[in-house]
Amino acid sequence: MTHIHLSDRYRNGVSVMHRLDPRVKVIITVLFIVSNTLLPDGAWMAYALSLGLVTFVCMLARLGAFFALKRSFVALPFVLVAITVLFATPGQTIAGWQFGDRVLLVTDAGVTRFFSILARSWLSVQMAIVLTAVTNIPDLLHALRHLRTPPLLVGVIGFMLRYLDVLADEAMRLMRARDARSAGGGGSLIWRAQVAGHMVGQLFVRSYERSERVYQAMLARGFDGRFLTVNPHQMHERDWWALAGTVTALALVQAAGYMLRM
């Protein structure tokens, strides 16, 4: 029986990073991503420093230095889109091909820009991976609530995460049943799409009915629209230090990005 564990994005552990206030962890991650976005093209030294920062945070979290690196290839398909800058950025031509009457020229500025986009994106993904790995879901939701996300939306996300595994399993069962019936193929494309559509409809109805049952059960247990927590978040001294350290490190990265441009 296949089963999907979505909650294994979190790595249980005891570390400085795990203990930090979840709000601080979210803010650190966003600051890091903003810093990457602000770095100019070709600031290789600053990218290297940022990579050092991610590695350092991974080690602080006791995840192993290359934890984020290993998981960070999810954003790669999108790179295809950025390939176009290779040809479109004005600069010194370094290679070219001719297709009929069209000429495709790769410029040095284009290459720099392409790899810079790649580096900035890849660094950002890594820090987001660390955030997910050291913050469990209830803490993450709590942080979102404190960071002024509308309570309704946080509640919706909370319910979503609670039932994600259940409905993912339900979807897998539907797909297994389809495979058993049709061995994964056959029919025309339209027919296959229609079968998938009916499965989606089936899943919708089952989910909808489940939400009705869930709500009845919640009412029976005295739900009054509020979620309570026994885990009040308080800023400790270490949280302030972590914030100060992040801001300082990112300021250095920015300085390196603008001064040590090669």
Binding site: I33, V81, V125, F159, S207
Partner: protein, 328 residues
Amino acid sequence: MSAITGHIPSAQWSLFGAELHIPDGFLNLPISIVCWIGAIALIAIAVQRAQRTLDERQMPLMGIMAAFIFAAQMINFPVAGGTSGHLLGGVLAAVTLGPWAGILVMTAVIAVQALLFQDGGLLVMGANILNMGLITALIGYGLYRSVINQRPAIRLAVVGVAAWLSVMGAALATSLQLWLSGTVALEVVIPAMMSVHALIGIGEALITAAAVSFILRTRPEIIEAGAQRSGLDRSWVIGGAIASLIVVILSPLASADPDGLERVAEDIGFIDLGQSAPYEIIPDYTVPFLGETPLSTIVAGIIGALVVAVVIILVAQALRSRRVGVRG
């Protein structure tokens, strides 16, 4: 089954559809901030409207429906040559739950995909919410609402068309945001994105129409209830029609003549926002006394975003006061 076993869902997602989740690093800061401000305004309005039109069952319903959209995106169907298509779900959510709840459900899906699966970025999440939440709900619900009293066959056909258009609209918006950030070349990305998504959109149309027809046959009252949850019905129809028209007119135009689009953008002065590298964002896009520093860019970005926010608030208030006027 072995392809799925042991993998997280997003990792085995086909390339199809992945192009619409922009990762961090692909949009520059001003564009990211402007999109976030728009998304925050949208979420605030959607929360307010959803609370007004849904009963207290809303939270579990929307939460489980968000999980449903996530799970439904795993249901793939083989297309050809080892590729497979799957649902994006924006139109299905808007048609079945009403547009405001649909927007919130899609926002939750996008947030979880970014926070837990790094499928789409955090800083660019505002853009992803506008592309996959607002545009799909606007086109999907707007067009569907205009034929709500017609025969089921017509309704399903319109749902299909709306699903296709919504994918095209999201792809168009994504391309424009990337281009304004200077990440892609317009003359390549528009034809490429639009032709790939024209195909993806067909899958979306077939699955969405089949799913809605299934629900109409088994639990028709759910869809009827969803349709009653919109409020501002005429605005949705008009908004959907306008958005559809923009997609229909702009996509072929941009594909055939990207230089034309570029010229228009240049005339409006919009192009300066991105085109160049994020740091030379244009002389106008820096604050004079700060010089050309990152700080200046940030301040300029925030000023620009505030202007957009004021415009959005004014428009929202105009809509609301008109609504009150109609009621009074």
